[in-house]
Symmetry: C2
Subunit: 349 residues, 2 copies
């Protein structure tokens, strides 16, 4: 948690702008298969305690999927959107995509001798993240992302992310990042899919960074990923068509950008939306404003022992206005400590 | 055909930029159901003559769907992308979305007395499309699109298009625009879907203009539409979340933009791609550069009697470089006159 403060001077928006460029893929266990097996075994949500939260989820799904029910939603219109960082996988002590960028700077440093004297790279290479980002703000993040997420073809970037995510370890747990996913949410994704929901990720993270591993880990295919992105340009490189990643943000899929991204990619108001921070507020507002039955849920990080506990004062996963609105409007809030029987597939932090 | 010349001074790109803002929906017969019924009856492509073109299509589909075949493509990776104007529905004497814009100008004119003296509106209202667009080029088209496709919520725009497309008639045939779809292509879309392909539209036309009717007419849902778009902004209007359409182009899904749009929305290289003009060239190049078996087809408008005949010299559906490349590289070219037994579901032009 202390590392949060290191990034206190960096705006979340600036950081996400930087993320607009990324893709990644490769772990060992097809975790979603585990969840799907559990669902097939009878209890679709074995890692959820039998609390009001679980009851609200199940009641909603039964209500919209029961033929003849006044709230019945046709299969084609069943859309569930999930934020990723802090909702499907962890985001502490720092967004994992940022840690990827830092690792890339270290790998690329030998090809950039000028970085020794140039911020934010100089401080990053000395291991001083705070100093690296303190002075630069958006500019520092943009430089970091441009240097690590652009200047190559999209295919090359996907491979870089796949290689990284197949090997890099989380600084606290020592686990692969793709193991740092929430078992109850894997079950929820599978449960909704078993009920004919189309499941989408709608994240401030990079669309390609996610596509590199989301199909394997969540069972969510590339065409169901909505995220931030760098500008991409079609080119013929030695006669071969490629998509080049340019050092320029194209779309920021965060906050008010989420409904825009949802409309652009899906063209339907979600039936159900799941998030964990103020960056998800507009997605939840947009979802709940749709006609007919709608469902909104916030994952509230309340378990300092098994995971992390943070909300209103945290820079990462800042949850303040959205929590107030959830309470005022009766949206469902999942209290990790009380509602979740398990946290990660491997256990706890 | 003569009306093509009226738009000779207008660049296709400028026109499409203007289209970046549109949506529409409503006809009588679920045409795709007809095609699906035919497919179910045994012959999946009854409106295709038994020529090399049909044989090439069927051979490709059988090759990639046969389990154990070295060219087998898993269902999750089977993606077919279709251009819309001139590939799935007609585009003469002018892109239908442009005719929609002209109709909107007439409807909106009473609220814009200033249009009487302001181009391109003044000439349009006098029925002189040539003069309306001759002087202005991109600016005239942009003004036309901004005035007719933006300044309202996305939902309002969808309803406007639905109302229009449910009633407006094609200037030559007197048919609803949604009847001006190609029966052989409806069958092809259904045939590919029956073989577990995910079918997408990738068009220079407006994404919302298409979403208003493509699910009903082609069986292609909103989340499978890739198109040009105006900038859209999330706002709270009297406390209600809406997406406002702004008078600013966001994305032009044409030419080199098509592979970019495909990657952004689908994240996979298509297995098969279908187009009819130089605006589809890069989509076909991008598709054929993918690893493993790929298929590219151009619809060549060769039937002046039953439809329209045009290619290298036409402004609408300009087909020149793509035809050369198809011939040079052995891509499949569907000759409408010789390969198609029928043109429209209702018959011929």
């Amino acid at each position: 948690m202390s590392s949060n403060r290191s990034f206190a001077t960096l705006s979340r928006r600036a950081l996400l702008s930087a993320f607009a460029a990324l893709p990644a893929l490769s772990t060992l266990v097809p975790l979603s298969a585990t969840a799907q097996a559990a669902a097939a075994a009878g209890d679709p949500l074995p890692s959820w305690n039998d609390t009001e939260t679980r009851k609200a989820i199940v009641a909603f799904v039964e209500r919209v999927t029961k033929p003849g029910s006044p709230d019945f939603v046709p299969e084609a219109e069943r859309v569930a959107t999930f934020d990723n960082d802090g909702t499907l996988w962890a985001e502490q002590p720092m967004y994992f995509q940022f840690l990827f960028a830092v690792d890339r700077v270290k790998i690329l440093a030998p090809h950039h001798p000028e970085w020794k004297d140039k911020e934010p790279f100089a401080s990053l290479l000395k291991g001083d993240m705070r100093r690296a980002l303190a002075g630069g703000g958006e500019s520092a993040v943009a430089q970091l992302l441009n240097a690590t997420h652009t200047g190559m073809t999209n295919d090359e970037f996907l491979q870089i992310v796949r290689d990284w995510i197949g090997a890099a370890k989380h600084p606290v747990t020592g686990r692969l990042y793709t193991e740092m996913v929430y078992q109850p949410m894997l079950e929820l994704v599978a449960y909704l899919r078993a009920n004919a929901f189309k499941t989408f990720i709608v994240s401030g993270g990079g669309i390609e960074f996610m596509r590199a591993w989301t199909e394997r880990v969540y069972g969510i295919p590339p065409e169901n990923i909505v995220g931030s992105n760098a500008k991409v340009k079609f080119e013929l490189l030695d006669g071969k068509p490629v998509l080049m990643r340019l050092p320029q943000a194209e779309f920021l899929d965060d906050g008010p950008g989420k409904p825009v991204g949802i409309n652009e990619h899906i063209g339907r108001v979600p039936t159900a939306a799941f998030g964990n921070s103020d960056g998800d507020l507009q997605m939840l507002q947009y979802t709940m404003a749709g006609s007919g039955p709608r469902f909104a849920l916030l994952v509230h990080h309340t378990d300092a022992e098994r995971e992390w506990a943070y909300d209103r004062k945290s820079f990462i996963g800042h949850l303040d206005k959205a929590l107030d609105e959830a309470n005022a409007k009766g949206w469902t809030v999942a209290d990790m400590k009380n509602d979740w029987k398990a946290i990660f597939p491997f256990g706890n932090k």
